[in-house]
């Protein structure tokens, strides 16, 4: 989804769900509206724009991310209001799903954004998680059956790097640890690869939600 589309869904959610306003179909450009409909986020009902279930879910998530980002930028990084408002609009789109809970926990599950608007709670707030687990770990710290997205690979030997790349172990790909002993067996795509501890410990992953 494009940044522009994300912003539209977020603003629509705030208007419709939070402020309880009705949004007429003339308020958006015909082109944007068509895009939103095509993506399955909204539908038109007698001159009004209504969020679909998916639109509601995505909008809520985006609002949560936006406000969490504002908190992060103002509380932790100490940015001024006019700066963080501008930066937040860009940064929020870059935060991967896996990091959202970590940011929220780090901030102590804030209820309100710096402007005093409510932050829709996430799973982490409800379970009252107290500590942030490190988000990026070496593959060797995953349990058997655990999976994550490869964030970076740190090896000096170019031969090792190329072998890993050729087998599909490259940043962005999801890996699952199938076995940890006597050697690591990981699954990436439809390929199973055996690795020794040294190589596995050089592959850093962002551990994802458990499936």
């Amino acid at each position: 989804m494009s940044e522009k589309l994300e912003n539209l869904v977020r603003d629509l959610w705030i208007a419709i769900k939070e402020e309880g306003r009705e949004v007429g179909d003339k308020e958006l450009s015909p082109y944007d509206l068509e895009e939103l409909e095509k993506a399955g986020y909204v539908r038109r009902e007698g001159g009004r724009i209504v969020l679909t279930n998916e639109g509601e879910r995505v909008g809520r998530k985006l609002v949560r991310l936006h406000r969490l980002t504002e908190r992060l930028l103002s509380d932790v990084l100490g940015m001024e209001e006019e700066v963080y408002e501008r930066v937040a609009c860009r940064v929020e789109h870059l935060i991967p799903e896996e990091l959202e809970e970590a940011v929220c926990t780090l901030l102590g599950h804030p209820r309100l954004c710096p402007h005093g608007k409510p932050i829709p709670p996430g799973g982490c707030c409800l379970s009252g998680k107290r500590y942030v687990e490190t988000v990026v770990h070496p593959l060797t710290e995953l349990e058997e059956g655990g999976s994550g997205r490869i964030s970076y690979i740190y090896v000096e030997n170019p031969q090792v790097m190329t072998r890993l790349m050729n087998l599909g172990l490259r940043p962005g790909r999801r890996v699952t640890v199938l076995k940890r002993f006597p050697a690591y067996i990981v699954q990436v795509g439809n390929t199973q690869v055996a690795l020794d501890y040294e190589v596995a410990s050089r592959i850093y992953v962002v551990s994802g939600p458990h499936h």
């Binding site: 599909g168 067996i185 795509g189």
Partner: protein, 649 residues
């Protein structure tokens, strides 16, 4: 798009290269396309083997080349370097990229780059049945449409899709190079355009691909350009000016994105994927059950090769055919017709080319290695070896080797000479040296094993022999791993799915290996016969034997056994066989038999293995290993002898 300038004229057969990663079924496809026959040859200046054959495409005959495994455009391994060089230098009329259907996501980026290279490309998507087993359906017409090149689904092991591939190849050969021109992003495209614009010479590969390779910092491409361009400094200056930071990541990222986008429209998941690890898989890689399986495999291997092959078949060929028929007939014929004794001894007698060299090669070694190669092809094709490698990786790491080294080590139980060649698959020079050392020192080949087994008096002696030899092997390998410099080994290995080997494939592999054996090793046996003959005739042997008699007597063996040790170099098991004769004649005690068997096992490799060591590892390393083996063999023999004397055996 570039044009091919073939100096050899139109009447020469078109050249078709088969390109692809290891393990995708490239060689199986090669045999299917060529029918049966291939020349295996060394790529000039390297130790990498390539197969060349002829394929008929509806009456048009082409030269088909099976290149070594190549997974990406960056050439790292020796195999990849050779494949890349061939891609550049043979000016192929067609490239068939073979990919594994289940792993298209990581293999299609190379297809895209081959298309950028201006080649005529046909994509063979192999093992489509495996993809279906994983729960996917693929729309190959869609893939063809998106890539803009012919796409043929195949199942090479079952011969499915081969005819379709043939006609797609023929059609592509008749057409012009075509295919999807990818957009690699503004920044990269701009850099590529700038570099390509200053390439003025004629190249066997498109300027676009050449520019990409130059931007990647590829040395081979830079060499090619430096040779061809009138002003190579313009290129180097430009390359310095263009930012090359992160080109590789950017390129890979773009290609991966394009591939994912294509596959989104090609692959359809129809049902959930099966359990990632089957029961059998768990069983094989579990340290306890896996070790039991390994023991069972080794016993089965021994029964098949050692008992059926080495005893039954060899007995028949050796005793009935050679000893019973050929040798006596030849000898009496030679005695009647040949006036010169030296000539008679060259061909016949006890050590002649026919009576010893060929008898040995065809009656003893050939059946044993044939049986072993059959067994090994089953082990290989079933996918057991990678499981064994990962099971044993931690143990081998202590000896400076990675789990992968288990492949040459197991192969060594069949033929140490071929196993020494196979050490090429190991990643680092250090590993290659260490594995070569282990093979030379203490891994007995099937021929030697046969005689040793027959000679050892009882299970008790067998146990001592196994413990001493494997113990010495471990200790020497451990010490050597501390002394040989080089990187620590790493272990990365693909685990292909376990499968039942196809008989056709097994037969093919066995035949190719046997052909290699006949061509490479048999001449060496003939050479050995000639050397023995010359050594005896000139009296050189007598001198070596008297020299060897010193250490032989030092380890408590009868003086006569020095002969066996010398001949052991020419034919590894003959050394053992010579001792066997002495033992049968009652010239050796229990202690002496055990000491001699341990010593001969550790003693130097046979002449064939030594020559291969020389070729693969160089003079210095080969001689060092040779001297080490002799020293260790006699030192261990001495110690075992002293201990047994002390123990009163």
């Amino acid at each position: 798009m570039h044009h091919h300038h073939r100096s050899s004229g139109e009447f020469k057969r078109p050249i078709v290269l088969l390109i692809g990663s290891p393990n995708v079924g490239k060689s199986t496809l090669f045999y299917r396309l060529t029918g049966k026959y291939a020349w295996i040859s060394n790529y000039p200046g390297t130790t990498v083997d390539i197969s060349i054959g002829r394929a008929h495409l509806d009456g048009v005959e082409v030269t088909l080349v099976d290149t070594p495994g190549m997974g990406s455009i960056y050439a790292v391994t020796e195999d990849e370097k050779v494949s890349r060089k061939m891609l550049f230098e043979t000016q192929p009329d067609l490239v068939v990229h073979v990919v594994d259907a289940s792993n298209m996501d990581r293999m299609l980026p190379l297809t895209l780059l081959l298309i950028q290279g201006g080649y005529r490309v046909v994509l063979a998507v192999n093992a489509v049945d495996e993809l279906e087993k994983l729960g996917y359906r693929a729309n190959f017409e869609e893939l063809e449409r998106r890539l803009g090149i012919p796409v043929v689904p195949t199942i090479a092991v079952r011969g499915i899709g081969i005819d379709e591939l043939r006609s797609a190849m023929l059609q592509a050969l008749r057409g012009r190079p075509k295919g999807l021109q990818v957009n690699l992003g503004d920044e990269l495209e701009d850099a590529i355009r700038r570099v390509a614009s200053v390439l003025t010479a004629d190249y066997p590969v498109s300027k676009r691909l050449l520019a990409i390779l130059l931007l990647l910092g590829d040395e081979e491409a830079l060499k090619m350009v430096s040779r061809a361009e009138a002003e190579p400094r313009r290129i180097t200056a430009l390359l310095e000016a263009v930012s090359r930071q992160g080109v590789r990541q950017a390129l890979e990222y773009r290609l991966a994105r394009i591939t994912d986008e294509i596959l989104k429209h090609v692959l359809l998941a129809v049902r959930p994927a099966p359990r990632p690890m089957g029961r059998l898989d768990e069983f094989l890689v579990n340290p306890v059950t896996g070790t039991l399986v390994l023991a069972a495999v080794l016993v089965a291997l021994y029964l098949f090769v050692g008992v059926v092959g080495a005893q039954m078949v060899v007995d028949f060929l050796e005793e009935k055919v050679f000893e019973g028929a050929i040798n006596p007939a030849l000898n009496s014929f030679l005695e009647e017709r040949l006036p010169y004794k030296w000539l008679y001894e060259l061909v016949g007698g006890d050590y002649g080319i026919v009576t010893l060299g060929l008898r040995y090669a065809f009656a003893i070694i050939l059946p044993i290695v044939s049986f072993f190669f059959i067994a090994f092809s089953i082990i290989e094709d079933s996918g057991y070896l990678p499981r064994l490698a990962l099971l044993i990786d931690r143990v081998l790491k202590k000896l400076g080797l990675s789990g992968k080294a288990v492949i040459p080590l197991v192969l060594g139980l069949g033929c140490d000479t071929m196993a020494t060649v196979t050490t090429r698959i190991l990643e680092t020079r250090r590993e290659k040296i260490l594995a070569t050392l282990m093979l030379a020192l203490g891994i007995p080949c099937s021929a030697q094993l046969g005689v040793v087994m027959a000679m050892l008096p009882g299970l008790h002696a067998l146990l001592i022999w196994v413990l001493v030899v494997s113990g010495v092997l471990m200790v020497v390998a451990y010490i050597a791993s501390k002394l040989v410099p080089g990187e620590t080994p790493f272990f990365i290995m693909e685990l292909p799915p376990l499968r039942i080997p196809s008989p056709r494939n097994m037969a093919m592999k066995t035949l190719v290996r046997l052909e290699w054996y006949l061509k490479e090793v048999i001449p060496l046996f003939v050479l050995a016969s000639v050397l023995i003959w010359a050594g005896r005739l000139t009296g050189v042997f007598d001198m070596v034997i008297s020299a060897l008699a010193v250490p032989v007597e030092l380890i408590g063996l009868p003086r006569e056994s020095a002969v066996a040790f010398l001949y052991g170099f020419f034919r590894r098991d003959y050394g053992a066989a010579g001792l066997y004769d002495l033992a049968m004649e009652g010239l050796m005690s229990y202690r002496q038999i055990l000491v001699s068997v341990v010593t001969i096992t550790l003693f130097v490799p046979c002449i064939a293995q030594f020559l291969v060591m020389l070729r693969e590892r160089g003079l210095k390393t080969a001689v060092a290993i040779f001297i080490l083996a002799v020293t260790v063999a006699f030192a261990v023999g001495y110690i075992v002898n002293q201990i047994m004397i002390l123990a009163g055996v």
